[in-house]
Structures are given as C-alpha cells and as structure tokens.
Subunit: 189 residues, 2 copies
C-alpha cells in the first residue's frame, strides 16, 4: 500500500524494456530473442537489464503478467465481489489474452504461460474473496482462490480444445450456475 513512489527512472526503463520485448515478440519466436536484442531495441545498457530482471525468463513472466493484468482491468473486479458477471468478464479477458498471444511465438513455453495466468487469477480471486468475507478464514480463502483459478483456466483450455465455435460468453455462462453454488458452499464452510 504505502510503498514510497518508485523512482521515475525505473518506471521509464521498465517501460522501455517491456515495449521492446513486446515489439520483438511480434517479429521473432521467444527462443530467438536475446537479451542483447532487447536492450538494443530499448536503447538501454545491457547491465541495466540485469538490474531489473533476473534473466529473460523473468522478463517473460513479468511482461505477460502485466499484459494480462491490463486485459483483466482488475480494478473493476477487486472492488466488487465474485458473481456471474465478473466471472464472465474474467473468462473473456483470458480467452482474449490468449488470442493476442497466439499472434506471438512462445512455442515451448505453453506451461510457463499457463502458470502465469493461473497465478494472476489466483491473486485476483483472493482479493475478491477477501472483500466479501470479513472473517479470518484466510487459509480457506487461499485454497478457494487456487481452485477458482485452476477451474477458470481449465475452462479456457476446454473452450479452445473443442468449443471455439461457441462465443466465450455463452460457453462460460452455461457453467456459471453450478460454479456459483460451489462458491456459496465454500463460503458457508
């Protein structure tokens, strides 16, 4: 919360690196992108890259997380609780995010990307659960968040596998009633 505002220089530099990376991703596969490519494109020193990121995989994680968060537009959800509408919006955000990813080439890193998506979802669901559950059931809420994130992600896998002719909205809506009873149940637990 009260983190003293970050130095404008790091904001600039991170932005430059991220943009360079996203830019390169649309031209090359991930495996062909070098740190040198990125720093050259971003017009920053290579040593500076390592000041901000452990390595290129660290950058991949953070870049994808950020893009995903922008897709999710989380401020909306964190305020309100979990309900049918928010589930639909989140599901649409994920399928949309994966569509933008398909334009880039991250072959061989599907598992990494899947993990990143689930982790982000988990954080968001946890915050939402905290909002609507004042009591101190933190551990239970964490587990619930994990399950929700895996569930939603799994739904997106299923949708891509053999239901792409159905709109994401329709697809997830059909399952929501059953999801919601599950949520209610976990709340009572």
């Amino acid at each position: 919360m009260s983190q003293s505002k970050t130095d404008p220089r790091v904001v600039r530099t991170r932005k430059l690196i991220m943009e360079a990376f996203v830019d390169l991703s649309s031209k090359k596969e991930f495996k062909d992108i070098t740190v040198k490519d990125i720093t050259t494109e971003a017009m920053i020193n290579r040593a500076t890259f390592y000041y901000h990121f452990e390595d290129i995989y660290d950058l991949l994680e953070k870049a994808l997380s950020e893009v995903l968060l922008i897709n999710l537009d989380c401020h909306n959800f964190e305020e309100n609780g979990i309900n049918g509408d928010s589930i639909v919006l989140i599901f649409k955000a994920i399928t949309n995010f994966q569509k933008t990813l398909s334009n880039r080439c991250h072959r061989g890193y599907e598992d990494t990307i899947a993990r990143i998506i689930r982790e982000q979802l988990e954080v968001i669901f946890y915050k939402m659960l905290l909002k609507q559950n004042t009591e101190e059931e933190n551990e239970a809420l964490k587990i619930a968040a994990v399950m929700l994130s895996w569930g939603i992600y799994g739904a997106s896998v299923e949708w891509r596998r053999n239901s792409r002719e159905i709109l994401p909205d329709e697809f997830i809506k059909s399952a929501i009633p059953y999801m919601m009873t599950g949520i209610k149940f976990s709340k009572l637990g």
Copy 2:
C-alpha cells in the same frame, strides 16, 4: 567530427524535453509555458532540465534550431554546392518551417526566431561554400554566408508580406539568376 558518441541517457532526456516543449507549444503560447510544465510533461526532474539547458529561452533556441534543421534536411545540401536547385529547396524549407510555426504561438519572439533562422542558414551556407572553394578565403566565405542568409531570409519576409499568392518556388526562382551572378562574383573576388 570525432566527438565521442554522447551518452544515451542525454539523448533520451533531450528528446523527452524537446517533445514535451513542442507538444505544449501547440496548446499554449510560449510566454505561458513554464519550466515546470515542460518537466512535468516530459516526466523528468526539474533539476535535470537545468543540466541540459540554461533556461527556457535556451530551450526555445535549440528546439527551433533542431526543427528547422530537420526541415532543411541539410545532409543533401552540404554535400553539393550552392546552385539554383539548392536555393529553391532551402527557400521552400524556410517558408514551410514558418508555416508550421504559425500554428504555434510565439508572439513577442519573432525577432528571436528570425535570428535563429538566419544563424542556421549561415552555418549551412558556410559549409556549402567551403565545399566549392578549396582555397583559404575563410573570412570572405564567412561574410558571403552571412549575406546569403540575410538575403534568403529577407526574401521569405518579402514573400510573406505581399506575395503569398505566388508559390514559394516561383517566387524565389525569379530572383535566382541575379543571385547566382552575385555568387559567381564573390567567388572571383
């Protein structure tokens, strides 16, 4: 020539400041633009501004000089010597530059702008004269450059005053024959 390449940080920062200034110029008059405005817009620290520029007037000079130089696209001219074609191109560049300026508000600084234009022209003409005169008549060439810069600038003033219905091309072309004899003469001098 051999100036050891400048630190990428200063390139970035100067660019940010210039862009912020050009941006603000299209919204406010120059007299209403503060250093704080610029540094805020450019997202750099105010102290950093003074690391690069003496004050806002210094920025005005350098920004205008740069925009003018871009308009002039000088690399073309410096290679070749002075001739009818280069005169026409330079004249068109000046009138064009002044047209872009008229969209911004620099009221009360017309004299400053005029001086900047003449100074830039003088530098360019001097380089061109050096190219086509190998002998060591540097002082004479400098004077010639001064005269040419004033002359061309004066022509642009005259054009704006009561010949705007004529295209800049036509306007300057009509005078070129007489200009060129003047140049030939100074070369013989």
